[in-house]
Amino acid sequence: MSTQHNDSTFDPDEPHLTRFDLVREGARRDGVEIVHYEPRFAKAGTAAEKRVERTIAFWFMITGLAALAFVVVYVAWPWEYEFGGHLDKWYTPMLGATLGLALFGLGAAQIIWAKRLLPAEVSVQERHDDVDTVEQKLTGATLVNMGQELNVSRRPLLKGAIALGALPLGAAAVVPLGGMIVDPHGHGDPLFHTGFDAKQFNEGKPVRLVREDGTPIRPEDVSVGGQITAFPGVPHGTTNVHADSPTLLIHLRDNDAKLTRENLGRVEVNKGGMWQNFVAYSKICTHLGCPASLYEQQTNRLLCPCHQSQFLITDNAKPIFGPATRRLPMLPIGVDDEGFFYATSDYKVPVGAAFWERP
């Protein structure tokens, strides 16, 4: 750095120089001028200075005590979790309070020391923004020379050879990421099918609607105006393996059901999807895939609590407010000979959030 201006006449061993003279000279060589330097207390050892020292010592003691308390709490406090227990619930707060206090004491001690005991100081350091044009030119020349030494432009054969060699190697570096690629329309076309797809998951037998514990559902299990979350009755049907499959089975009141039945004809794929006063819609919001699970019985609206899309159940689960653009897909249902709900087919349109190739 150009900040150094070594004064060759400066002799650090000269007897009349104090240590601070050396400090000042060192700083000067680093481009720093100490322009103001004054002890905080004009007279050493005054009561005021002692008081500051005592304050700092106090905070160090606090640190020691609190740290000790932290160790004792960590080791000796009953920490093992007990449901409804008492002392163990204080374990984490005690650790936080003691550790916080210990660290705070150390911080306070240092800051008070720096602000109240260290000499008041103003130093000025020069900036050196001027670009050294000579240096710049020398570096530039070195760079240009590097290119000249290689001299690719005069050697077209090497130019081509580099391209032919480097491009495939570049490709070879990227291609292994291809291990991540999974065809979204591969096995079973999962974007278009759910766990209610009988052919894929139930050997062609109709898939029943089941509760979370896997038991099938009868019409009389759902009270009028009530609803229940149903899953496909296939292996792992209630788990996240079939994250697209959760379905809301709703038992509508008579007049709501009548209205729903009238509206059903307006959406081609929903025709014939109701069973008596029961409808089943996908629980997966068509906005971003949250479970749309807040059902308002009075208005027959279904609200997704994540982004507040609202769907009108009596009109083919049409989005009536919020960011969702598509109806919740309907699961066509029926009741089998044993009196349990089953899906007469899989969902007829893709479930959940939209994507590019969704028609």
Partner: protein
Amino acid sequence: MKKKRFDLATLPERSAKGIDERFHASTPLRRMFNKVFPDHWSFMLGEIALYSFIVLLLTGTFLGLFFDPSMEEVKYDGVYTPLKGIEMSKAYESTLDISFEVRGGLIMRQMHHWAALLFMASIVVHMLRVFFTGAFRKPREANWMIGFLLFWLGFMEGLFGYSIPDDGLSGTGLRVINAITQSIPVIGSWAGFALFGGEFPGTVIIPRFYILHVLIFPAIILGLIAAHMGLLVKQKHTQWPGPGRTNKNVVGVRMFPGFAMKGGGFFMITFAVIAAMGGLFQINPIWLFGPYQASVISSASQPDWYVMFLDGIARLWPAWETRFELFGNGYTIPPIFWAAVVLPGVIVNIGLLYPFLEARFTKDKEQHHLLQRPRDTPVRTGLGMMALAFYLVLFASGGNDVIAQHFDISLNAMTWIGRIALLLAPPAAFWISYRIALGLQQHDREVLAHGVETGIIKRAPDGRFYEVHQPLGPVDDHGHGQLEYEGWVVPKKMNRIGALGPAIRGFFSPLEVEDKEARKGKAKELAGKK
């Protein structure tokens, strides 16, 4: 043989000599000791981010000893009885174990989470300071860009972090990430399937996020922090204008011992706050959320605060979907693509390039080391407040269901308030802050020209009342001050110019009457007088 005597007194000198002979360290070391740092409270905001990152590394390492990022399904058999026998992933189970069965595990988890929130918050506030004071101007554009990227890396890092416990809340977040990824035109579903290793949720997303969270992103963040600090040292800190401070110097204290000691103390205080919060304030009680199930959600599902603006835009963006047919196939561009992919992309690019855009419009090619007061750059201040207003509307909308519930406002009304405010608040913020900046500028000039109001009212012989003004310097024939505005605080109160004397210092007892001898002497004097 005579044994050489060990001389303790000369040890430092000898070892210093030994070190210098090998590393030639004395000059660079002294230069570092002597480096001057300017002092102002606003310069410590970035420090908080640095210190919380260190706490994140420490607590994160502890958590890494116990966390198992596996999505293998297990039956819970731990001490937390309400979840006994429930199927969950190993990731969730091991997070429960950290919370309940690892001694001190819960405080580490909570400190880690609080430190992450503090890290992001201090980055934002630091960034605002740098923006509004013009500290990003040449030659510091690169450091602005690095800092800006650090915010987004921290954003992703936090997102990965709170996703990997695989609880009910974070799983829903993953589902939203999946939907956003799938919304990208042409490659969306391929990108989503590549990320999740198949259909959502699959079994690889937690291990993948885990490796990103504990290795790749921390490494990039660490590297960028190193570059950020390196550039800071190389370019030296900016400073406020003021007596003796010019564009060509740095006025402050030397790094050692003064600055370093304050910094060290401040680190400990930051650490203390995080430790106390980690112990005393519950955060992310995943045992209440249960394991992730695709069919379960509760209301008031919010991400961490720094992600909330994205949740806000997802709520506010209208249902504008593009559908079209091509060669007999139907295609869709979902609205969330514009809200959560395009919009953040635009924000990132404008933010990154802002120093260059401003330099271009103001035709400013100079080197700047002196900071500007926000009032002196009304347009920039207005733009900043505009961006902030935009951000805050989105942020508040990220929790609009909670606001609706607590203030008894219709949820639908909240959505519409957010939509309208998103369009109206930013220009309003620009106009208001622009006018305030001009007003403050004018007031500075007025005080320079006419002096400080003294509060003394005089009545002229003809009956007029007027207030006496104290000029700040020499005045011309009209009584107008001759001082120029220097880009720094203009004193506007009499005690600022020494007229009333400074307030007595000391919290419980005054510090000025300090010398006991002097006090005794004074007491004697007083006694003598009696």
